[in-house]
Amino acid sequence: MKLEYFDMIDEVIGVNTVGASIVARSVVPDESPVFKGHFPGYALMPGVLLIEAMAQASGFLIMTLNDFKELPLLVGVDGAKLRMPVRPRSELIIESSVEHDGSGFAVMGAQIRHDGAQACKASLKMKTMPFPSEQLRLHILASADAAGIFALED
């Protein structure tokens, strides 16, 4: 994880294209400029970045299912619960699955677990659109490759 770059997924450890689900793993960094403000003397992973981590895992799943032809964007967050403080060096297991496959959008059920307990959960609405640039598509493909998605796919 590099919080300041919104680089939230260290590794994808499972993708189920039939069941439309994904599991990823990330470790909260020991140090980050984000922690200088959040908070001085008590570094805490911002809740909005936990939601971003769930959105990025969800995005990787949607793009795996659409062969990286369309870009998913987060357009809605419902029922978010941030259940515990998440500190530096925490290992996070990020899970997401498709709850509803709509036309041009998907609703995802996502959660993050830490030490076996649910750290947060939310229902995320993702709208898909054509990639606005080939540069962005290639960047995301490289990110997905670095996260190990293509090594996992059938």
Binding site: V75, G76, H100, G102, S103, G104, F105, V107, K125, K127
Partner: protein, 94 residues
Amino acid sequence: MTQTFETIAEIIADISEIPVDEIDEKSHAINDLSIDSLDFLDIVFAIDKTFGIKVPLETWTKEINENQAPSEDYFVMGNLCARIEELVAAKAAA
């Protein structure tokens, strides 16, 4: 008013916070009710769940953008309800 109209009007009223009595079969979802694209996505999601269908929103949008169909065909309430009833019937026949 059909049951389909009443159900969809209630969905729209709930999501877009529009008084249900301001919605009639001639209302255009965008031009008259001022529903934005994000709220319309929520409305489509609710319609999908309620009727057990998949509203082909991408196809409709493409047809409108390419001038193959006027927006009234899909976004005037009476027409929207007719499209939903067609989708429900097609699913039942499948």
